[in-house]
């Protein structure tokens, strides 16, 4: 009914989650249909990590009608073609988990089967040599072919490294132009009605802000969803034991490599994310097995360049909210769940939550079937990504380090066990999963016992030629491509000329 329409939306908390929500909701709802208010306090810092993204962010920007060059300039963005995992399977290893395809699917058989077969004949190149994104990434190049739709590399994708704080600012500007009202202040009280729905929040200044729908973007503090509504948090620390991160920005100069580096350490791993003007670095670790001092030392001793600030410590716990939507409150971002940034999924999970909310947008009746559908979707996306992250930890052969030994031996979720069995026995991947499984599994030495046996009856020369050609085409395409530095500069200046 028209009378039931949501008229007031209150977003508590700014940051990446808050402003992404404000911008997307303001863009989606008919102009003037709703008053959207975002409350944030300069006194409460934002986590501000999540600088590494996955290609879905491009869809988010596209839907909001955001110009790519403008966005990249505002967020000091660089291109990202994948993630480089160092020392994960064994000490000294390095493999790239690329966005998009590896090789090509021929006769309905995925490329890694051909690759496995070709090894029998001594063709022993690493699998990543057959992924354009991986080869170009290691060469510090950006293959323009992947941005077009007219060539054999159109299936590939790219994302960005961004300054997440700047992205939030950029979206704030966007949202305010669409009449989102920003209120500065700290929430000190949350008022509920007789049905326990949230009625209003009271700020330190005494101002009371009422609303029909509340969105909790308060991060780990989960002011509304947990402190007010008491929704339980499902703890996954028995699978994902890291609970801390030491972070520090450094200078960045020279070649921009279009990948996030994730190097395994003694009891965790360390990231390096190149932006235009600096690099983000962080050491994720399990505090039960590594002291903060030791973690900071490791970080400072392995920085690629001069630090620009003192290291900062973050604490977290892996898990998700049992329900991200309860009553008239939807948790978006860290208040809804946390997964460490290993696969750069924080912004994607925010985006997923927002789009699902818009798809299932309620009215004042808050019907349970809509809420259930939302929670089912959110649980499933969190669980899927969780499994993929556990996979990285579980598939290691580092027997001499207790943290890693434990990851090897621990009981893993049943669904993950079945997926690993499917790959290790038959080399097959469930297409509904997140990420490029063959890259990670093979990159961490899980070679399938069997490839698709149909390859045994094909002409060996044809298979050899096909595999070789895939590799050569990628070498050629990479050689043709500009360096990331050049491409980025051309793109940013070219775009600003276009605007003039």
């Amino acid at each position: 009914m028209k009378a039931d329409a949501i008229q007031q939306i209150v977003i508590v908390g700014g940051g990446t989650a808050g402003w992404m929500t404000a911008a997307a909701v303001a863009n989606h709802l008919p102009a003037g249909a709703c008053q959207i208010t975002l409350i944030e306090s300069d006194a409460i810092g934002t986590v501000g990590v999540g600088e590494s993204t996955i290609p879905h962010i491009r869809r988010f920007n596209e839907i909001l009608g955001i110009d790519e060059a403008e966005f990249m300039a505002a967020t000091n963005a660089t291109y990202k073609l994948g993630i480089c995992f160092d020392h994960w399977g064994r000490e000294g290893d390095s493999y790239i988990h690329p966005f998009g395809e590896i090789g090509h699917v021929v006769h309905g058989i995925e490329f890694h089967h051909y690759w496995l077969k070709a090894r029998q004949w001594g063709i022993n190149q690493p699998l990543e040599r057959y992924a354009l994104n991986a080869v170009a990434a290691r060469a510090g190049r950006f293959p323009e072919a992947i941005t077009k739709n007219d060539n054999q590399f159109s299936g590939y994708a790219y994302a960005y490294h961004i300054d997440a704080t700047a992205y939030a600012k950029f979206l704030r500007n966007y949202a305010e132009k669409k009449n989102v009202q920003r209120l500065e202040g700290k929430v000190i009280e949350v008022r509920q009605d007789s049905t326990e729905n949230i009625e209003s929040v009271v700020l330190e200044s005494g101002v009371e802000v009422g609303g029909d729908l509340f969105i909790d973007c308060t991060g780990f503090r989960a002011e509304l969803i947990e402190k007010t509504l008491g929704v339980e948090f499902i703890d996954w620390s028995h699978w994902l034991a890291t609970d801390s991160a030491a972070v520090v920005p450094t200078e960045r100069s020279g070649t921009i490599y279009p990948f996030t580096r994730a190097s395994a350490r003694k009891a965790g791993w360390q990231w390096c994310i190149p932006l235009q003007h600096r690099a983000g670095n962080g050491h994720v670790y399990a505090s039960a097995q590594l002291s903060d001092d030791e973690a900071i030392d490791t970080l400072l001793n392995t920085l690629p360049d001069q630090p620009l600030a003192e290291p900062r410590l973050l604490r977290f716990k892996a898990g998700r909210r049992k329900m991200s939507w309860h009553k008239n409150c939807v948790a978006v971002g860290l208040s809804s769940g946390f997964l460490e940034p290993l696969e750069s999924t924080s912004i994607y999970l925010i985006q997923f939550g927002i789009f699902k909310l818009l798809e299932l947008f309620p009215d004042k009746q808050f019907r349970q079937a809509d809420i259930d559908a939302y929670n089912t979707s959110l649980s499933s996306v969190y669980d899927t990504i969780r499994n993929f992250i556990i996979l990285h930890y579980h598939l290691n052969q580092k027997n001499d380090l207790p943290f890693w030994k434990n990851c090897q031996k621990m009981a893993i979720p049943q669904e993950l066990e079945a997926l690993i069995a499917l790959f290790s026995q038959a080399g097959r991947v469930d297409i509904s999963q997140f990420g490029v499984w063959p890259a990670v599994c093979i990159g961490q030495h899980l070679l399938p016992e069997h490839y698709d046996t149909r390859l045994d009856t094909m002409n060996p020369e044809m298979i050899k030629q096909f595999v070789t050609r895939c590799g050569e085409d990628i070498q050629d395409e990479t050689a043709k491509s500009s360096s990331v530095n050049d491409y980025l500069e051309r793109f940013l200046t070219g775009a600003s000329h276009d605007r003039e």
Binding site: A5, R367, A369, L422, E449, R454, T457
Partner: protein, 455 residues
């Protein structure tokens, strides 16, 4: 470790449309590999004389390279574009729509719910069918739909048989006499037919009329249907000549089952699926196999499980099973994890087909003054679908579904009737915009139909 060798000898037990679909599908899909495919063209599982194939048949025809004009010319197939449901309270039409245009992010059916019209007037397929016009899909029309086919099962089977011969598929016209199994794995390793032919086997496709043909007393586990009576009788008959074809297929609810009526190939043809059809026709066991891929044998068609129109027909499911087998094609070991993954996918199809059948059954209920309810319950997934639609007229999106989002919408819209919910965003859009959008779309449909009629 025992080597996982390539599958070399495939035997399809039981021809029929499903068996021969498997033969052509595998011969095409395994083109380039060195395999021998043999069809034992006897003992086939039951198939109706007229098969109502849903739009999924195009996926399979694309896979095996069939051009559909061939089928029309030789009287093997006639297209259909909508389902018509009859009850004593009236009739309704579900078009085979792929998708309907949107106003911003709002689905058309939400707008129709707000404005209070009838959804089928916004479907080109349904409107054409109502007016007895054979509209065919037009490229990028905003009212796109896909045709289904009414198949003359025997002729279709002959057609596939011919295609299979071209692809070097062998056939043996004699029943299975003995089955030899490996002692350790229980895999079937050879069959001898009553004419003395002995066939070595790596992989079996089971489309036989009974589990006993291959498994004697070691039957693979089955799941009984939650929606349907354990046994339905099936009867088929011609009810006089029909001067012209009907672009819609009619379903009428009977007290103890349902009736399907098509007008094709110059005749009016009736088929009934009933709890007791006066002892006429063969009994069909409802329910599905828990593991259609069992040891080295894939059961397809009626051997894998019951499915019937108005939902997706058993032939469509068999053809999809063949395509999925190619996705998960095994070696001689049939490794467990691969088998499990394939079975999961096959079961998902079966469950979705059954849910859709249960929903359409409810739809015919809502068109009856007082219908006896033969369906005891519906699955949890379907309950959730109905609850969500009742709440806000939405359908959750799914990956690679058997039943597309628009097909669910069309059925839920009528099945829930006045109980359906509306997307709150539809109330935020100005009424005038909604009315204008719908009228424009309806006018577009009328124009297209007028153009078709003048041709």
């Amino acid at each position: 470790m025992i080597a996982n060798k390539p599958i070399k000898n495939i035997v399809i037990v039981g021809g029929g449309a499903a068996g021969w679909s498997a033969a052509v599908g595998l011969a095409r899909g395994l083109h380039g590999s060195d395999v021998n495919i043999t069809v034992i063209d006897a003992d086939a599982a039951f198939e109706p004389a007229i098969t109502l194939a849903s739009e999924h048949i195009h996926d399979f025809h694309k896979l095996i390279g069939i051009r559909d004009e061939q089928l029309f010319k030789s009287g093997i197939a006639q297209p259909w574009i909508a389902r018509r449901f009859y009850g004593n309270k009236g009739e309704c039409y579900l078009g085979n729509d792929v998708e309907m245009p949107k106003l911003g992010a709002l689905n058309l059916h939400q707008l129709v719910s707000v404005s209070g019209g009838d959804l089928s007037t916004c479907s080109l397929a349904a409107t054409a069918a109502r007016r007895q016009i054979f509209a065919m899909p037009q490229g990028d029309s905003p009212a796109s739909f896909r045709t289904g086919y009414i198949l003359h099962t025997h002729k279709y089977c002959d057609f596939l048989r011919g295609a299979a011969k071209h692809l070097n598929v062998r056939s043996v016209v004699a029943s299975v006499a003995t089955v030899e199994c490996q002692s350790d794995t229980g895999f079937i390793e050879a069959l001898t037919c009553k004419d003395g032919t002995r066939l070595e086997i790596d992989l079996v496709i089971d489309h036989s009329n009974s589990a006993e043909v291959l498994w004697r007393n070691h039957l693979p586990p089955a799941i009984t249907s939650t929606h349907l009576p354990a046994l339905l009788r099936f009867a088929e008959r011609a009810a006089g000549p029909a001067r012209q074809g009907d672009p819609a297929v009619t379903f009428t609810r009977l007290a103890n089952g349902w009736q399907q009526k098509v007008q094709a190939f110059g005749q009016t043809l009736l088929a009934e699926y009933c709890v007791d059809a006066d002892g006429r026709g063969p009994p069909l066991a409802t329910g599905v196999l828990a593991t259609p891929f069992y040891k080295n044998t894939l059961a397809i068609g009626m051997r894998a499980g019951f499915s019937a129109p108005p939902s997706v027909s058993v032939l469509n499911l068999a053809q999809r099973a063949v395509a999925k087998l190619l996705d998960y094609f095994p070696g001689t070991l049939c490794v467990a994890a691969n088998t499990t993954a394939l079975n999961t996918e096959l079961q998902q199809d079966q469950r979705e087909a059954e849910d859709y059948l249960a929903l359409l059954w409810q739809l015919t209920d809502s068109l009856q003054e007082s219908a006896e309810t033969v369906l005891p319950s519906v699955s949890r997934v379907l309950q959730q679908k109905q609850a969500l639609f009742a709440s806000s007229g939405r359908v959750g999106s799914q990956l690679n579904p058997l039943i597309t989002e628009q097909m669910w919408i069309n059925a839920l819209w009528y099945a829930l009737g006045e109980l359906r919910g509306i997307d709150p965003l539809a109330y935020m859009a100005p009424n005038a915009d909604i009315e204008a959008f719908i009228s424009r779309h309806q006018a577009h449909i009328q124009q297209q139909l007028a153009r078709l009629q003048t041709r």
